[in-house]
């Protein structure tokens, strides 16, 4: 991957000037590259990873992974149904899978009822949805490569040769 992207993926707040220093480039060139990435949609947006194990967010307190089996629509394949599903704001992520089911839908809600309501009233009754299996997440340990626990302490001696 491009090194600018690699740096931003680790810390989106690294300034263009800092990246320029790190890569031995001109700040202008870094800014231009970032602009280009943004324009092309390579960089979608800059978000903060909030540790939801530490703060409660009542709207997304409960998260479930839902296996969805569907009958693909003629000529439109799986994409048609996927599109109808992922547009719901409750849906956090949606993947087409190989294996025993077709779509993996990640749903967030304020409690178990909200999530099961969504599944039973919106998802399951959809035309071409043949069945769903809901798995509630009990605890998050690691998300998107980040381990969700308190900052690590530096265990090294403060000075050594």
């Amino acid at each position: 991957m491009n090194e600018i992207l690699e740096i931003l993926e680790k810390d989106a707040r690294t300034s263009a000037e800092e990246i320029a220093k790190m890569l031995g480039m001109k700040a202008q060139a870094v800014k231009a590259a970032i602009k280009k990435f943004e324009k092309e949609g390579v960089i979608l947006k800059y978000k903060t990873i909030v540790n939801k194990e530490l703060v409660r967010d009542e709207h997304s307190d409960v998260r479930a992974l839902i296996e969805v089996r569907i009958t693909p629509k003629k000529n439109l394949g799986f994409d048609y149904l996927a599109e109808r599903i992922y547009q719901f704001p409750e849906v956090n992520a949606c993947y087409l899978m190989s294996g025993t089911y077709d779509l993996l839908v990640v749903v967030e809600g304020k409690d178990i009822h909200t999530v099961s309501d969504f599944v039973s009233s919106k998802l399951a009754p959809m035309e071409n949805v043949r069945g769903t299996v809901t798995h509630f997440i009990l605890k998050k340990y690691k998300e998107d490569g980040d381990i969700l626990r308190q900052a690590k302490r530096d265990k090294r001696e403060a000075i050594s040769l």
Partner: protein
Amino acid sequence: MKTSKIVEQIPPSGIRAFFDLVLGMKDIISLGVGEPDFVTPWNVREAAIYSLEGGYTSYTSNKGLLELRQDISRHLKHKHSLEYDPSDEILITVGVSEAFDLALRAIINKGDHILIPEPYYVSYGPLVTLAGGKPIFIKVNPENSFKITPKDILKHCGDRTKGIVLNYPNNPTGASYTKPELKAISKAVIKRSLIMISDEIYGDLTYDFNHTPFPTLPHMKERTICLNGFSKSYAMTGWRIGYACGPKNIISLMTKIHQYTMLCAPIMSQMAAREALKSGERSTQEMKREYRRRREFIIAGLNEIGLTCHKPEGAFYAFPSIKISGLSSMEFAKELLKKERVALVPGTAFGPSGEGYARISYAASLSNIKEALLRIKRFLAPFERTKPLDKSSGLRPEQGRRTKK
């Protein structure tokens, strides 16, 4: 009670008092650490746990696990086309520090001279003395990016010169050598029939060109003891695993001492080292990329605030001049610690020619590096107005530009 004269006469590490000062302080930003800020990759730690669970708690062969020596042999062949026989040309040691000591004791007869480029890693001088030799320090020229030249070597050679120590990439200066530079050095080594002790522990952390192990140079394999280990490449300092590769007869002498003093390196560490060789390359490359970015960042930053600094080719140290402050290295380090709570190592820790310099480790998070640079800049501000400038340092234009802001 009479104790050993030779040990008594070894200068105590003058740096100890300063270290105690640092260790006694809380909430400091330390750029004084000589080891990676990464934790050993999990697959390596996991392998060590597994080996403990599996009951691997015994001694190993004196030379180290044969499997590990075979892995190292394969690794050197694959990476550098170097051929070392795992049965009698490789010895597993407790870190490179032990390997270094063994190498000296294996080659030194009382009074032999060993050439050591200065500034040097702290243990080199004392270990030569303890082995009965005499360290001959060669001051490297900061103008030559702290690199030693064949001329320097020849100038310091005498009848008793037995060998030379080369540490590249270098702790503390970060300097390393390209293949042509090493070739030139190897000619001086041949000319004076020296034995080369090549400490290449930072070899994997070479940024601007490929690291050339000394024994890969023509005719050098038969006169080089090449030292390496796992501490820096795989963030495994605490595991204490190093190795020496060299001519059969020397490795056999080193093994003799090793079997009496150390017996063998810890088996769990050796098992972990096997895993590191098997699967650690990805982590090594990731760490290297990260260090490289920090290097660019910190070198630019140091030069901006007036601590002029050549760009180190390897390791994770910057070795800037602190002459702009008008302070000695030790004063500089102490004052900076007291006033701004930033720790670094005074250059004099690595020999008298380190005066006027400081070792700054960038094995620290980027946010700490940023904050430390801000603090050092603040620390330097009063000196700019009051201290007369050292004309030879060539800092005037830089300063002029800054005061205009």
